[in-house]
Symmetry: C2
Protein backbone atom coordinates (compact mmCIF):
# COMPACT_ATOMS: atom_id res chain seq x y z
CA UNK A 1 0.00 0.00 0.00
CA UNK A 2 1.27 3.46 -0.93
CA UNK A 3 0.48 7.06 -0.10
CA UNK A 4 -1.98 7.19 -2.98
CA UNK A 5 -4.24 5.11 -0.81
CA UNK A 6 -3.95 7.24 2.31
CA UNK A 7 -7.67 8.03 2.13
CA UNK A 8 -8.13 4.92 4.30
CA UNK A 9 -6.30 6.82 7.07
CA UNK A 10 -7.92 10.19 6.48
CA UNK A 11 -10.42 9.89 9.33
CA UNK A 12 -8.29 7.77 11.68
CA UNK A 13 -7.04 9.32 14.94
CA UNK A 14 -3.37 10.37 15.19
CA UNK A 15 -2.87 7.95 18.10
CA UNK A 16 -4.19 5.04 16.00
CA UNK A 17 -2.05 5.90 12.97
CA UNK A 18 1.04 6.33 15.16
CA UNK A 19 0.39 2.89 16.65
CA UNK A 20 0.18 1.37 13.13
CA UNK A 21 3.46 3.09 12.25
CA UNK A 22 5.03 1.82 15.48
CA UNK A 23 3.96 -1.73 14.62
CA UNK A 24 5.55 -1.41 11.19
CA UNK A 25 2.21 -1.54 9.36
CA UNK A 26 2.62 1.90 7.76
CA UNK A 27 6.02 2.58 6.18
CA UNK A 28 5.14 5.18 3.54
CA UNK A 29 4.49 8.92 3.28
CA UNK A 30 1.95 10.43 5.65
CA UNK A 31 0.39 13.05 3.37
CA UNK A 32 -3.40 12.98 3.69
CA UNK A 33 -3.52 10.96 6.90
CA UNK A 34 -5.51 12.19 9.94
CA UNK A 35 -7.26 15.06 8.25
CA UNK A 36 -7.25 18.26 10.29
CA UNK A 37 -4.26 17.30 12.44
CA UNK A 38 -0.86 18.96 12.14
CA UNK A 39 2.11 16.97 10.86
CA UNK A 40 5.66 17.89 11.86
CA UNK A 41 9.22 17.72 10.57
CA UNK A 42 11.75 16.04 12.87
CA UNK A 43 15.38 16.85 13.66
CA UNK A 44 17.21 14.94 16.42
CA UNK A 45 20.60 16.15 17.63
CA UNK A 46 22.88 15.45 20.58
CA UNK A 47 22.70 18.03 23.37
CA UNK A 48 26.13 19.29 22.31
CA UNK A 49 24.72 20.69 19.05
CA UNK A 50 21.19 21.32 20.37
CA UNK A 51 21.90 24.80 21.74
CA UNK A 52 23.12 26.08 18.38
CA UNK A 53 20.13 24.50 16.63
CA UNK A 54 17.65 25.94 19.13
CA UNK A 55 19.26 29.37 18.64
CA UNK A 56 19.13 28.92 14.84
CA UNK A 57 15.40 28.24 15.14
CA UNK A 58 14.89 31.26 17.41
CA UNK A 59 16.67 33.45 14.86
CA UNK A 60 14.88 32.00 11.83
CA UNK A 61 11.35 31.41 13.08
CA UNK A 62 9.63 31.58 9.69
CA UNK A 63 11.63 28.76 8.14
CA UNK A 64 12.15 26.85 11.41
CA UNK A 65 8.96 27.23 13.50
CA UNK A 66 9.31 24.98 16.55
CA UNK A 67 6.21 23.11 17.69
CA UNK A 68 8.01 21.26 20.50
CA UNK A 69 11.51 20.57 21.80
CA UNK A 70 11.92 17.45 23.92
CA UNK A 71 13.87 17.10 27.13
CA UNK A 72 17.30 15.56 26.44
CA UNK A 73 17.12 11.76 26.35
CA UNK A 74 13.34 11.60 26.41
CA UNK A 75 11.57 9.63 23.66
CA UNK A 76 8.18 11.04 24.64
CA UNK A 77 6.60 14.40 23.92
CA UNK A 78 4.54 16.43 26.37
CA UNK A 79 2.52 18.92 24.36
CA UNK A 80 1.82 18.05 20.74
CA UNK A 81 1.28 14.31 21.18
CA UNK A 82 0.40 11.96 24.04
CA UNK A 83 1.75 8.43 24.36
CA UNK A 84 4.01 8.91 21.36
CA UNK A 85 7.44 7.31 21.01
CA UNK A 86 9.56 9.57 18.86
CA UNK A 87 11.99 6.73 18.10
CA UNK A 88 9.32 4.53 16.50
CA UNK A 89 6.34 6.66 15.44
CA UNK A 90 7.63 7.99 12.13
CA UNK A 91 7.38 5.68 9.07
CA UNK A 92 10.92 6.34 7.83
CA UNK A 93 13.94 7.97 9.48
CA UNK A 94 17.26 9.08 8.06
CA UNK A 95 20.50 8.72 10.02
CA UNK A 96 23.25 11.23 9.27
CA UNK A 97 26.90 10.91 10.27
CA UNK A 98 29.20 13.88 9.69
CA UNK A 99 26.67 15.31 7.24
CA UNK A 100 26.47 12.11 5.15
CA UNK A 101 23.32 10.02 4.89
CA UNK A 102 24.31 6.69 6.45
CA UNK A 103 20.98 4.88 6.30
CA UNK A 104 17.20 4.87 6.33
CA UNK A 105 15.29 3.04 9.07
CA UNK A 106 11.68 2.45 10.09
CA UNK A 107 12.65 2.99 13.72
CA UNK A 108 15.70 4.41 15.48
CA UNK A 109 15.53 2.64 18.84
CA UNK A 110 18.93 1.03 18.29
CA UNK A 111 20.55 4.47 17.87
CA UNK A 112 18.94 6.07 20.90
CA UNK A 113 21.19 7.94 23.35
CA UNK A 114 20.55 9.75 26.61
CA UNK A 115 21.79 13.05 25.20
CA UNK A 116 19.44 13.29 22.20
CA UNK A 117 17.10 16.28 21.82
CA UNK A 118 14.13 16.13 19.42
CA UNK A 119 12.98 19.20 17.50
CA UNK A 120 9.47 19.02 16.02
CA UNK A 121 9.07 21.68 13.36
CA UNK A 122 5.87 23.02 11.80
CA UNK A 123 5.03 21.95 8.25
CA UNK A 124 3.26 23.56 5.31
CA UNK A 125 0.73 20.69 5.19
CA UNK A 126 -1.05 22.65 7.94
CA UNK A 127 -1.53 25.84 5.98
CA UNK A 128 -2.28 24.01 2.73
CA UNK A 129 -5.34 22.51 4.42
CA UNK A 130 -6.47 26.05 5.25
CA UNK A 131 -5.84 27.22 1.67
CA UNK A 132 -7.83 24.35 0.22
CA UNK A 133 -10.74 24.99 2.56
CA UNK A 134 -10.73 28.58 1.25
CA UNK A 135 -10.80 27.26 -2.34
CA UNK A 136 -7.29 28.52 -3.10
CA UNK A 137 -5.56 26.10 -5.48
CA UNK A 138 -2.62 24.04 -4.23
CA UNK A 139 -1.21 22.97 -7.57
CA UNK A 140 1.13 20.18 -6.48
CA UNK A 141 -1.74 18.48 -4.65
CA UNK A 142 -3.97 18.89 -7.72
CA UNK A 143 -1.21 17.36 -9.84
CA UNK A 144 -0.32 14.60 -7.37
CA UNK A 145 3.28 15.80 -7.01
CA UNK A 146 5.60 16.93 -4.23
CA UNK A 147 5.71 20.68 -3.62
CA UNK A 148 8.46 22.44 -5.64
CA UNK A 149 11.22 23.84 -3.41
CA UNK A 150 14.12 26.12 -4.29
CA UNK A 151 17.40 27.31 -2.81
CA UNK A 152 17.41 31.12 -2.59
CA UNK A 153 19.81 34.00 -2.05
CA UNK A 154 17.97 35.00 1.16
CA UNK A 155 20.47 34.50 4.00
CA UNK A 156 19.43 32.83 7.22
CA UNK A 157 20.70 34.34 10.44
CA UNK A 158 23.50 32.01 11.48
CA UNK A 159 23.81 30.49 14.95
CA UNK A 160 27.00 28.69 15.94
CA UNK A 161 27.63 25.86 13.44
CA UNK A 162 24.32 26.40 11.62
CA UNK A 163 24.11 28.77 8.64
CA UNK A 164 22.95 28.94 5.04
CA UNK A 165 20.29 30.42 2.80
CA UNK A 166 16.55 30.03 3.07
CA UNK A 167 14.83 27.26 1.12
CA UNK A 168 11.35 28.19 -0.12
CA UNK A 169 8.32 26.28 -1.32
CA UNK A 170 6.26 27.61 -4.25
CA UNK A 171 2.56 27.57 -5.08
CA UNK A 172 1.26 29.27 -8.25
CA UNK A 173 -1.96 31.30 -8.03
CA UNK A 174 -3.61 34.50 -9.22
CA UNK A 175 -2.89 37.84 -7.57
CA UNK A 176 -6.32 37.77 -5.92
CA UNK A 177 -5.63 34.31 -4.54
CA UNK A 178 -2.16 35.39 -3.43
CA UNK A 179 -3.67 38.20 -1.37
CA UNK A 180 -6.13 35.83 0.32
CA UNK A 181 -3.38 33.25 0.87
CA UNK A 182 -1.16 35.91 2.44
CA UNK A 183 -3.86 36.87 4.94
CA UNK A 184 -4.60 33.22 5.79
CA UNK A 185 -0.99 32.17 6.27
CA UNK A 186 0.02 35.38 8.10
CA UNK A 187 -2.27 34.20 10.89
CA UNK A 188 -0.38 30.87 11.11
CA UNK A 189 3.18 31.85 12.15
CA UNK A 190 3.83 28.45 13.78
CA UNK A 191 3.61 26.78 10.36
CA UNK A 192 5.82 29.19 8.35
CA UNK A 193 3.42 32.17 8.27
CA UNK A 194 3.08 34.60 5.39
CA UNK A 195 4.92 34.38 2.04
CA UNK A 196 8.49 35.66 1.81
CA UNK A 197 8.15 36.70 -1.87
CA UNK A 198 5.92 36.55 -4.94
CA UNK A 199 6.48 37.18 -8.64
CA UNK A 200 9.95 37.44 -10.21
CA UNK A 201 11.92 34.39 -8.97
CA UNK A 202 15.28 36.02 -9.84
CA UNK A 203 14.79 38.60 -7.09
CA UNK A 204 15.41 35.86 -4.53
CA UNK A 205 18.10 34.11 -6.53
CA UNK A 206 16.02 31.45 -8.26
CA UNK A 207 17.32 30.96 -11.82
CA UNK A 208 14.85 28.49 -13.30
CA UNK A 209 11.37 28.18 -11.83
CA UNK A 210 10.86 25.02 -13.92
CA UNK A 211 13.78 23.30 -12.21
CA UNK A 212 13.17 23.10 -8.44
CA UNK A 213 16.10 22.07 -6.23
CA UNK A 214 13.84 19.71 -4.25
CA UNK A 215 10.43 18.18 -4.98
CA UNK A 216 8.69 18.34 -8.35
CA UNK A 217 7.98 21.01 -10.95
CA UNK A 218 4.34 22.11 -11.25
CA UNK A 219 2.33 23.92 -13.91
CA UNK A 220 2.07 27.70 -13.65
CA UNK A 221 -1.02 28.68 -15.66
CA UNK A 222 -1.45 31.87 -17.66
CA UNK A 223 -2.42 34.68 -15.31
CA UNK A 224 -0.75 33.07 -12.31
CA UNK A 225 2.31 34.18 -10.38
CA UNK A 226 4.58 32.04 -8.22
CA UNK A 227 4.16 32.65 -4.48
CA UNK A 228 7.02 31.62 -2.19
CA UNK A 229 6.89 30.56 1.47
CA UNK A 230 9.73 29.81 3.91
CA UNK A 231 10.23 26.04 3.93
CA UNK A 232 11.08 23.49 6.60
CA UNK A 233 13.82 22.11 4.37
CA UNK A 234 15.81 25.22 5.41
CA UNK A 235 16.87 23.82 8.81
CA UNK A 236 17.55 20.43 7.22
CA UNK A 237 19.84 22.09 4.64
CA UNK A 238 21.61 24.01 7.43
CA UNK A 239 21.96 20.75 9.33
CA UNK A 240 23.51 18.92 6.39
CA UNK A 241 25.92 21.81 5.74
CA UNK A 242 27.03 21.89 9.38
CA UNK A 243 27.93 18.19 9.23
CA UNK A 244 27.40 17.36 12.92
CA UNK A 245 28.82 13.96 13.93
CA UNK A 246 25.33 12.50 14.52
CA UNK A 247 21.81 13.49 13.54
CA UNK A 248 18.48 11.84 12.80
CA UNK A 249 15.70 13.34 10.67
CA UNK A 250 12.47 12.10 9.16
CA UNK A 251 12.69 10.96 5.53
CA UNK A 252 11.03 13.48 3.19
CA UNK A 253 7.24 13.25 3.38
CA UNK A 254 7.36 10.73 6.23
CA UNK A 255 6.17 13.09 8.95
CA UNK A 256 5.30 12.91 12.61
CA UNK A 257 1.52 13.12 13.05
CA UNK A 258 0.60 15.24 16.08
CA UNK A 259 -2.53 15.39 18.23
CA UNK A 260 -2.97 19.13 17.63
CA UNK A 261 -5.40 20.52 15.10
CA UNK A 262 -4.19 22.70 12.23
CA UNK A 263 -6.84 25.17 13.33
CA UNK A 264 -5.12 25.47 16.73
CA UNK A 265 -2.04 26.86 14.97
CA UNK A 266 -3.82 30.08 14.11
CA UNK A 267 -3.11 33.16 16.17
CA UNK B 1 16.01 64.51 36.64
CA UNK B 2 13.54 61.65 36.97
CA UNK B 3 11.34 59.60 34.67
CA UNK B 4 8.54 62.11 35.11
CA UNK B 5 10.59 64.36 32.87
CA UNK B 6 11.21 61.82 30.14
CA UNK B 7 9.27 63.97 27.67
CA UNK B 8 12.64 65.59 26.88
CA UNK B 9 13.70 62.21 25.43
CA UNK B 10 10.41 61.37 23.74
CA UNK B 11 11.53 62.36 20.25
CA UNK B 12 15.22 61.50 20.59
CA UNK B 13 16.64 58.58 18.58
CA UNK B 14 17.34 55.28 20.36
CA UNK B 15 21.04 55.55 19.41
CA UNK B 16 21.28 59.01 21.01
CA UNK B 17 19.53 57.96 24.22
CA UNK B 18 21.67 54.83 24.45
CA UNK B 19 24.79 57.00 24.14
CA UNK B 20 23.55 59.24 26.97
CA UNK B 21 22.93 56.16 29.09
CA UNK B 22 26.40 54.83 28.20
CA UNK B 23 27.96 58.14 29.30
CA UNK B 24 26.13 57.95 32.64
CA UNK B 25 23.91 60.93 31.86
CA UNK B 26 20.66 58.94 32.12
CA UNK B 27 20.40 56.66 35.16
CA UNK B 28 16.64 56.45 35.67
CA UNK B 29 13.63 54.60 34.22
CA UNK B 30 13.18 54.64 30.44
CA UNK B 31 9.36 54.76 30.23
CA UNK B 32 8.29 57.34 27.66
CA UNK B 33 11.68 57.67 25.93
CA UNK B 34 12.04 57.31 22.14
CA UNK B 35 8.37 57.21 21.31
CA UNK B 36 7.43 54.50 18.84
CA UNK B 37 10.48 52.33 19.50
CA UNK B 38 10.33 49.00 21.32
CA UNK B 39 11.96 48.65 24.72
CA UNK B 40 13.19 45.26 25.96
CA UNK B 41 13.74 43.32 29.16
CA UNK B 42 17.25 41.89 29.68
CA UNK B 43 18.45 38.60 31.14
CA UNK B 44 22.14 37.66 30.96
CA UNK B 45 23.24 34.13 31.85
CA UNK B 46 26.38 32.05 31.43
CA UNK B 47 26.27 29.60 28.50
CA UNK B 48 25.94 26.76 31.03
CA UNK B 49 22.42 27.91 31.97
CA UNK B 50 21.58 29.53 28.62
CA UNK B 51 20.26 26.36 26.95
CA UNK B 52 17.69 25.78 29.69
CA UNK B 53 16.65 29.44 29.56
CA UNK B 54 16.35 29.42 25.76
CA UNK B 55 14.23 26.27 26.01
CA UNK B 56 12.10 27.88 28.76
CA UNK B 57 11.47 30.81 26.43
CA UNK B 58 10.61 28.49 23.53
CA UNK B 59 8.11 26.66 25.73
CA UNK B 60 6.59 29.81 27.24
CA UNK B 61 6.55 32.26 24.31
CA UNK B 62 3.71 34.43 25.57
CA UNK B 63 5.39 35.36 28.84
CA UNK B 64 8.94 35.16 27.48
CA UNK B 65 8.89 36.45 23.86
CA UNK B 66 12.49 36.66 22.65
CA UNK B 67 13.42 39.63 20.48
CA UNK B 68 17.10 38.67 20.23
CA UNK B 69 19.60 36.26 21.74
CA UNK B 70 23.26 37.30 21.50
CA UNK B 71 26.21 35.14 20.58
CA UNK B 72 28.03 33.95 23.72
CA UNK B 73 30.56 36.53 24.89
CA UNK B 74 29.38 39.26 22.53
CA UNK B 75 28.43 42.64 24.00
CA UNK B 76 26.86 43.77 20.72
CA UNK B 77 23.54 42.95 19.15
CA UNK B 78 22.92 42.29 15.46
CA UNK B 79 19.23 42.75 14.81
CA UNK B 80 17.30 44.94 17.22
CA UNK B 81 20.00 47.59 17.76
CA UNK B 82 23.13 48.79 15.94
CA UNK B 83 26.25 50.01 17.72
CA UNK B 84 24.82 49.09 21.11
CA UNK B 85 26.92 47.85 24.03
CA UNK B 86 24.75 45.62 26.15
CA UNK B 87 27.09 46.00 29.14
CA UNK B 88 26.67 49.80 29.32
CA UNK B 89 23.49 50.84 27.49
CA UNK B 90 20.94 50.15 30.22
CA UNK B 91 20.53 52.77 32.97
CA UNK B 92 20.53 50.32 35.85
CA UNK B 93 21.47 46.65 36.08
CA UNK B 94 20.98 44.08 38.79
CA UNK B 95 23.59 41.45 39.57
CA UNK B 96 22.34 38.17 41.02
CA UNK B 97 24.47 35.49 42.70
CA UNK B 98 22.84 32.17 43.62
CA UNK B 99 19.44 33.83 43.28
CA UNK B 100 20.28 36.68 45.68
CA UNK B 101 20.49 40.30 44.56
CA UNK B 102 24.11 41.23 45.15
CA UNK B 103 24.10 44.77 43.76
CA UNK B 104 22.80 47.41 41.35
CA UNK B 105 25.13 49.02 38.81
CA UNK B 106 24.92 51.56 35.99
CA UNK B 107 27.17 49.36 33.87
CA UNK B 108 28.35 45.75 34.10
CA UNK B 109 31.63 45.93 32.18
CA UNK B 110 33.60 44.76 35.22
CA UNK B 111 31.50 41.59 35.42
CA UNK B 112 31.73 40.67 31.75
CA UNK B 113 32.75 37.14 30.82
CA UNK B 114 33.32 35.34 27.53
CA UNK B 115 30.56 32.83 28.25
CA UNK B 116 27.70 35.29 28.81
CA UNK B 117 24.56 35.12 26.64
CA UNK B 118 22.13 38.07 26.51
CA UNK B 119 18.39 37.52 26.15
CA UNK B 120 16.35 40.55 25.06
CA UNK B 121 12.68 39.97 25.83
CA UNK B 122 9.65 41.84 24.48
CA UNK B 123 7.87 44.26 26.82
CA UNK B 124 4.28 45.40 27.26
CA UNK B 125 5.31 49.04 26.67
CA UNK B 126 5.05 48.12 22.97
CA UNK B 127 1.42 47.04 23.01
CA UNK B 128 0.39 49.80 25.43
CA UNK B 129 1.43 52.34 22.80
CA UNK B 130 -0.91 50.58 20.36
CA UNK B 131 -3.75 50.52 22.89
CA UNK B 132 -3.38 54.23 23.61
CA UNK B 133 -3.36 55.08 19.91
CA UNK B 134 -6.68 53.19 19.68
CA UNK B 135 -8.04 55.24 22.62
CA UNK B 136 -8.16 52.23 24.93
CA UNK B 137 -7.37 53.37 28.49
CA UNK B 138 -4.15 52.24 30.14
CA UNK B 139 -5.03 53.04 33.72
CA UNK B 140 -1.57 52.85 35.34
CA UNK B 141 -0.24 55.34 32.79
CA UNK B 142 -3.25 57.62 33.42
CA UNK B 143 -2.55 57.38 37.15
CA UNK B 144 1.23 57.75 36.87
CA UNK B 145 1.89 54.36 38.45
CA UNK B 146 3.66 51.12 37.61
CA UNK B 147 1.49 48.43 36.04
CA UNK B 148 -0.04 46.04 38.63
CA UNK B 149 1.36 42.52 38.34
CA UNK B 150 0.24 39.32 40.04
CA UNK B 151 1.49 35.81 40.68
CA UNK B 152 -0.99 33.27 39.31
CA UNK B 153 -1.81 29.59 39.50
CA UNK B 154 -1.13 29.18 35.75
CA UNK B 155 1.87 26.85 35.48
CA UNK B 156 4.69 27.61 33.07
CA UNK B 157 6.13 24.73 31.10
CA UNK B 158 9.37 23.94 32.89
CA UNK B 159 12.73 23.59 31.12
CA UNK B 160 15.70 22.20 33.02
CA UNK B 161 16.31 24.38 36.08
CA UNK B 162 13.65 26.94 35.13
CA UNK B 163 10.05 26.52 36.33
CA UNK B 164 7.26 28.38 38.10
CA UNK B 165 3.89 30.00 37.53
CA UNK B 166 3.00 32.76 35.11
CA UNK B 167 3.12 36.36 36.31
CA UNK B 168 0.47 38.56 34.69
CA UNK B 169 -0.03 42.29 34.27
CA UNK B 170 -3.52 43.79 34.58
CA UNK B 171 -5.33 46.65 32.85
CA UNK B 172 -8.94 47.48 33.72
CA UNK B 173 -11.35 48.33 30.88
CA UNK B 174 -14.91 47.80 29.65
CA UNK B 175 -15.92 44.62 27.84
CA UNK B 176 -16.03 46.52 24.55
CA UNK B 177 -12.51 47.83 25.11
CA UNK B 178 -11.34 44.37 26.17
CA UNK B 179 -12.54 42.93 22.87
CA UNK B 180 -10.68 45.62 20.88
CA UNK B 181 -7.57 45.20 23.06
CA UNK B 182 -7.66 41.44 22.49
CA UNK B 183 -7.69 41.89 18.73
CA UNK B 184 -4.88 44.48 18.83
CA UNK B 185 -2.59 42.49 21.10
CA UNK B 186 -3.32 39.15 19.42
CA UNK B 187 -1.54 40.61 16.39
CA UNK B 188 1.58 41.36 18.50
CA UNK B 189 2.79 37.92 19.69
CA UNK B 190 6.40 39.12 20.05
CA UNK B 191 5.33 41.44 22.87
CA UNK B 192 3.17 39.01 24.90
CA UNK B 193 0.22 38.79 22.49
CA UNK B 194 -3.40 38.40 23.51
CA UNK B 195 -4.71 38.35 27.12
CA UNK B 196 -4.50 35.13 29.09
CA UNK B 197 -7.66 35.87 31.15
CA UNK B 198 -10.27 38.50 31.97
CA UNK B 199 -12.84 38.91 34.73
CA UNK B 200 -12.80 36.84 37.92
CA UNK B 201 -9.22 37.02 39.29
CA UNK B 202 -9.71 33.94 41.49
CA UNK B 203 -9.94 31.72 38.40
CA UNK B 204 -6.21 32.23 37.87
CA UNK B 205 -5.31 32.14 41.55
CA UNK B 206 -5.29 35.86 42.33
CA UNK B 207 -6.74 36.38 45.82
CA UNK B 208 -6.83 40.18 46.10
CA UNK B 209 -6.91 42.32 42.97
CA UNK B 210 -6.22 45.39 45.14
CA UNK B 211 -2.92 43.93 46.34
CA UNK B 212 -0.63 43.26 43.36
CA UNK B 213 2.50 41.18 43.98
CA UNK B 214 4.62 43.62 41.92
CA UNK B 215 4.01 47.20 40.79
CA UNK B 216 1.17 49.40 42.02
CA UNK B 217 -2.57 49.01 42.53
CA UNK B 218 -4.78 50.92 40.09
CA UNK B 219 -8.43 52.01 40.14
CA UNK B 220 -11.00 49.66 38.56
CA UNK B 221 -14.02 51.81 37.70
CA UNK B 222 -17.65 50.69 37.81
CA UNK B 223 -18.46 48.82 34.62
CA UNK B 224 -14.86 47.73 34.08
CA UNK B 225 -13.34 44.28 34.29
CA UNK B 226 -9.68 43.41 34.90
CA UNK B 227 -7.90 42.08 31.79
CA UNK B 228 -4.75 40.02 32.31
CA UNK B 229 -1.72 39.62 29.99
CA UNK B 230 1.33 37.35 30.29
CA UNK B 231 4.12 39.44 31.82
CA UNK B 232 7.90 39.62 31.30
CA UNK B 233 8.39 39.31 35.05
CA UNK B 234 7.58 35.60 34.55
CA UNK B 235 11.07 34.65 33.27
CA UNK B 236 12.67 36.87 35.91
CA UNK B 237 10.69 35.06 38.63
CA UNK B 238 11.72 31.70 37.15
CA UNK B 239 15.32 32.92 37.09
CA UNK B 240 15.27 33.97 40.74
CA UNK B 241 13.69 30.66 41.77
CA UNK B 242 16.30 28.66 39.86
CA UNK B 243 19.12 30.45 41.73
CA UNK B 244 21.82 30.16 39.06
CA UNK B 245 25.31 31.01 40.33
CA UNK B 246 25.49 34.19 38.22
CA UNK B 247 22.96 36.32 36.37
CA UNK B 248 22.47 39.93 35.33
CA UNK B 249 19.11 41.58 34.60
CA UNK B 250 17.90 45.12 34.03
CA UNK B 251 16.50 46.86 37.11
CA UNK B 252 12.68 47.16 36.91
CA UNK B 253 11.64 49.89 34.47
CA UNK B 254 15.24 50.49 33.34
CA UNK B 255 14.88 48.95 29.91
CA UNK B 256 17.01 48.46 26.80
CA UNK B 257 15.81 50.81 24.05
CA UNK B 258 15.91 49.11 20.64
CA UNK B 259 16.07 50.48 17.10
CA UNK B 260 12.93 48.59 16.05
CA UNK B 261 9.51 50.20 15.86
CA UNK B 262 6.63 48.89 17.95
CA UNK B 263 4.68 48.80 14.72
CA UNK B 264 7.21 46.30 13.29
CA UNK B 265 6.21 43.83 16.02
CA UNK B 266 2.80 43.27 14.48
CA UNK B 267 2.19 40.14 12.49
Amino acid sequence: MKENNNSAYENMSPAKVRSLIREGKITWQTSGMCRGFAQANLVILPKEQAYDFLLFAQRNPTSCPLLEVSDAGSRTLKYIAKDADIATDIPKYRLWENGELSGEYTDVERFWRDDLVCFLIGCSFSFEAELISSQIPVRHIEQGRNVPMYNTSIPCVSAGIFKGNMVVSMRPMTEREAIAATAITAAMPRVHGKPVHFGDPSKIGIKDIAAPDYGDSVTIKDGEIPVFWPCGVTPQAALMAAKPPFAITHAPGHMFITDILNSSLKN
